[in-house]
């Protein structure tokens, strides 16, 4: 029931506090319903991967989008992270060779992976993806009768791998708080905690 756009490479800002607000490896960027029409850049960006998981409820998927919340709103933290949870992608790679190859493929030769619960559904399936839009000689998009650019559809192999929703959710990890270097003792408390 859900498709996930997952970051596999940290987004890094050299500013410590701004860096806390950047998504990191394993964070879900967006969670969409099955059959979502992903954009051209979403299929190409080497920092992302798309996981199709019919067995995963949209609610469980969207729960991955929750930000880290202030434990004491009267004393707001400056180090709250964009996402409170992440998927342990290293553990996922260990558990599934297909997933490992998919996660390691920065060229995104197969832009989407499908996780299925039943082994009989696993294997290679073809899916249609949009790779660009039709353009005229001046490189302007050619519009269809509804005034929208006409997509160029391409059938590509989509790896289908046996990973159940329970398997994936078992890799859901709550991130530890990031100690604030501007608060004396914050780091120590985090280590003790």
């Amino acid at each position: 029931m859900a498709e996930l756009l997952i970051r596999v490479v940290d987004k890094v800002n050299e500013d410590f506090y701004l860096n806390c607000q950047c998504t990191k490896r394993g964070d879900v960027v967006v969670a969409q319903p099955d059959g979502w029409a992903w954009g051209l850049e979403e299929l190409k960006n080497p920092d992302w991967r798309i996981v199709v998981m019919p067995e995963l409820s949209l609610g469980d998927a969207q729960a991955m989008l929750a930000p880290e919340l202030d434990k004491d709103p009267k004393s707001p933290s400056k180090t709250l992270q964009r996402r409170a949870f992440k998927f342990d992608l290293d553990a996922l790679a260990t558990s599934s060779p297909d997933a490992k190859a998919f996660l390691a493929d920065g060229k995104r030769s197969s832009p989407i992976i499908k996780f299925v619960a039943d082994v009989k559904d696993a294997g290679v399936a073809q899916v249609a993806i949009a790779t660009d839009v039709l353009r005229d000689a001046d490189s302007k998009p050619i519009l269809d009768q509804n005034g929208k650019p006409t997509p160029i559809m391409l059938a590509v192999d989509q790896t289908a791998t046996k990973v159940s929703a329970a398997d994936l959710l078992a890799l859901k990890v709550e991130k530890p708080p990031t100690p604030d270097p501007g608060i004396i003792g914050d780091n120590k408390l985090a280590v003790i905690g």
């Binding site: 987004k11 050299e14 860096n19 029409a37 051209l40 949009a130």
Partner: protein, 342 residues
């Protein structure tokens, strides 16, 4: 240095969601050397729990983030903009809406960010349309946006929580059926310029809250703003400076004209049929102050003034220049004006 423009929509655009576009932005726009522009297409309504968080990027006055509509895609590009009801309606143009309890539709944590020509809605309990958080900003700009929230204020949440910068020529509708929610609330120690805003609660809902609510230590300048349907036009007068503003509140602060009849100012003021275009003969027309920097064009991209002076509120009522062309020709006049401005 340049500008990187990406398309956002669900019909073979660069990004299918606004959040993915934001996530793909460089973490440091200054060292990257480019301004970043996301242009939205009205392929479908943008919906999500929290639709968009802009956070974690380093920006400056040259290399900043803009989210706007692609050409022809905004409600104010609609061919019938002069006659369409002025309220959230995705069929009129790009529209984005949060759907989750306590969620904010657009959360801006980065300074210098610009939002233009968007419809922003929320219809979940205690959601807000636009939130800048508690950190003071200086240069966020919101232009010609329509922010229409069904239930922002059961516990006092505002439709817009703003922490510094400018909001101009925009409509803010608080549609909370209960509670004390405000229209626009500004944060602690923030400097805000609010120009030609219409901030309203529909007339058939319980009067409550303040149209403009400022926390302490800030400086909030109101010019040509309309505030209707609230208990108070502002929460604490000392925190505001107002110029040629209007309200239905009796005995408002200096700078407001009070006791205007609500239903005489807008086309339809009740919730279900709400339409907050200025109404013929209303007290908002030609009673504002000229502000060529922040006041024009209006929410429909009509150049101000049309008539003798700027109107109060987000909507500039289109008047015949020679005084003899009926309002029925307003769409034609509008087209002429737009052609001359853009």
């Amino acid at each position: 240095m340049g500008t990187v423009t990406k398309t956002i929509g669900t019909s073979s655009r660069d990004y299918s969601t606004i959040q993915a576009w934001e996530d793909a932005l460089p973490a440091n726009l200054v060292t990257d050397g480019n301004a970043q522009v996301g242009t939205c297409y009205n392929d479908s309504e943008f919906t999500a729990g929290t639709l968009l968080v802009i956070a974690g990027e380093t920006v400056n006055a040259t290399n900043f983030i803009t989210l706007k509509c692609a050409a022809g895609q905004s409600f104010n590009d609609n061919a019938n903009v002069q006659t369409n009801a002025l309220r959230y309606n995705q069929t009129n143009g790009v529209a984005c809406r949060s759907t989750t309890l306590y969620a904010t539709t657009i959360d801006i944590q980065v300074d210098f960010t610009v939002l233009q020509d968007l419809q922003i809605g929320c219809n979940a309990t205690n959601g807000s349309g636009l939130n800048q958080g508690s950190t003071s900003r200086t240069s966020v700009v919101v232009d010609r946006c329509l922010i229409d929230c069904k239930s922002p204020g059961a516990n006092g949440a505002p439709v817009v929580l703003f922490s510094g910068g400018k909001i101009r020529n925009s409509l803010v509708i608080n549609r909370a059926s209960t509670g004390t929610g405000n229209g626009v609330r500004t944060g602690y120690a923030t400097t805000c310029g609010l120009t030609n805003l219409t901030v309203v609660r529909p007339s058939d809902l319980t009067i409550a809250g303040a149209a403009f609510s400022a926390l302490s230590g800030g400086t909030v300048t109101l010019k040509n703003c309309a505030a209707f349907g609230f208990t108070n036009e502002v929460n604490v007068a000392a925190r505001f400076t107002a110029t040629t503003c209007a309200t239905d509140v009796a005995s408002p602060m200096t700078g407001f004209t009070g006791s205007l009849t609500y239903t005489s100012q807008f086309v339809t003021t009740t919730d279900a049929s709400r339409d907050f275009r200025a109404k013929t003969g209303g007290g908002l027309i030609d009673t504002g102050t000229t502000d060529a920097t922040n006041g024009t064009p209006d929410i429909a991209k009509t150049a101000r003034p049309s008539g003798a002076s700027y109107d109060i509120g987000c909507w500039e009522y289109v008047q015949a220049a020679a005084g003899f062309i009926a309002q029925a020709f307003a769409p034609v006049l509008q087209a002429v004006k737009r052609a001359s401005v853009y």
